[in-house]
Symmetry: none
């Protein structure tokens, strides 16, 4: 692969016609930006993220780049380095047509910690999920091999304990340092952590064991280098498990949202209804419809 | 020392002659890399960091770049975007000649997830803690007002359920955005989460309630804006609780190390020996003495 400029090599540049409406959010630390705009008269969200710097390209990067001196002081000097484009790509995600929900999802908002009792779940959260949820068509496409079939890292096709393991959209798969895979279960009626009981232990143990084995085989990373967890609330209500590299500070791995799968298994082993009966805590962004429901109920 | 190919436009490309010895560390999330090597026979450290994406360059970026399609599924598609080099620079810092200290400073230690059963705690961790006996003098100084007395935000002097709340060293107190306080208990015989039983519920509930009240009063932040948690393993073995702002990605708030105080209280309410009997998971850095003990015991 190279960064040739001949038209033959390019995809059509769909972003040429992108009209920015406004920046939804950005992280200078992570070198990401979330943009809302229009693509051929359709609402679109475009996400740009600079790619990690790869060790195996350093020699080529140093020899093939242009350096502009900015500052020199004693033993310290700083430069702006201009690299050949193919060595310095920007990961670009386009959601088009994007719904109001997608726009909200990427809009930076402050968060509030919500306390959800089992009763709150039944009277506030569950009715909200049932009414509001995102289409799960893209999950069904994956499970039915209608999309992303070539991205599958591992599959256990069993309808009860089986799952498909594949890279998360956020991971460009160029290096294992920010490894991020998702295990999506074949069962279609488990919404989230809240639905889990001891009946699901065979499923959860199967995902834990076979997911780790598949990652060891494909990426040579042992279990001690992995963080395996569920989100609550999840971003979509079809049960899935996150596998990220332990050293990678993945988004959504903070204690207020993530639940280690090993802990989930252990909790269900000692109390079959642990997640049905517990008060659970999770962050919700200011613009989340579910937060409004908790506020309306006088819970915040 | 001019490694440039068209010497006219460029600064001298000093990095052309850089010989990489090894990568000291890298953050895929922050798009940084720290490299140790040689520059004209002198020790050098080179730090590369991709630059944040600037809103004011977006139009030019979209029109002037090449897009390579990676994946398309339903309304989602991902691309690799190859941008003009001047719109996508890499901040480069060179330390040369670099000393041993510079090299150490940038060296990253990888972490390993350790699985600690209750038996492992008694046979491996506890003897290690007892042997190491890190001095807790600085904690005792705080509790006895021999040091940092002027920094105290709140104190409940009760010997059983009391504690002192004060800002963590990492927080400069200039803004609440990265609020970080520590509650240090007056009881001196509770080493960590592992020692907690239902007997400690009055202490834990007292810290939770009065800590939140004190923060509301002093900083005007309600409980829903706070992340209140313990570390396991902690960095010192005198029980303490962390209070950080929910939106602040504090170091040590990831799921593999942090335990929400609300969860700890709930777990002890339903099982008085929860933390005495559980398998606990935590990360240890490669150079941690405790990790060697787990390795020697064949546990990793």
């Amino acid at each position: 692969e190279n960064g040739g400029e001949e038209a033959g090599e390019k995809s059509e540049n769909v972003l040429c016609g992108f009209k920015t409406s406004h920046v939804l959010g950005a992280s200078d630390r992570e070198k990401t930006i979330f943009i809302h705009g229009k693509l051929a008269d359709q609402e679109a969200v475009v996400i740009l993220e600079k790619t990690p710097i790869r060790e195996d390209t350093l020699t080529e990067l140093f020899s093939g780049s242009t350096l502009k001196l900015e500052m020199r002081n004693d033993i310290y000097s700083t430069y702006r380095l201009q690299a050949p484009p193919f060595l310095n790509e920007i990961k670009t995600t386009v959601v088009c047509p994007a719904t109001e929900k997608h726009v909200k999802k990427y809009k930076h908002q402050e968060s509030f910690l919500v306390e959800e009792t089992d009763e709150d779940y039944r009277s506030i959260t569950l009715p909200y999920i049932e009414m509001q949820r995102f289409s799960l068509q893209w999950i069904h496409n994956i499970l039915e091999k209608k999309a992303e079939a070539e991205r599958i890292v591992y599959e256990d096709p069993d309808p009860d304990v089986g799952f498909i393991l594949l890279p998360d959209f956020k991971w460009d798969q160029k290096q294992v340092d920010d490894l991020y895979l998702i295990a999506i279960v074949h069962q279609r009626d488990i919404r989230s952590l809240r639905d889990l009981t001891s009946e699901h232990l065979p499923l959860l143990k199967n995902i834990f064991q076979k997911g780790q084995e598949a990652i060891l085989e494909r990426y040579n990373l042992p279990a001690s280098k992995l963080r395996v967890y569920l989100h609550y609330q999840p971003s979509y209500y079809h049960l899935h498990v996150h596998f990220t590299k332990l050293d990678y500070e993945a988004p959504g791995c903070r204690v207020e949202r993530a639940h280690l799968l090993a802990d989930v298994i252990q909790n269900l082993q000692s109390d079959p209804k642990y997640y049905k009966s517990r008060t659970l805590y999770f962050p919700l962004r200011a613009d989340d419809g579910l937060l409004s429901k908790f506020k309306e109920a006088g819970k915040l």
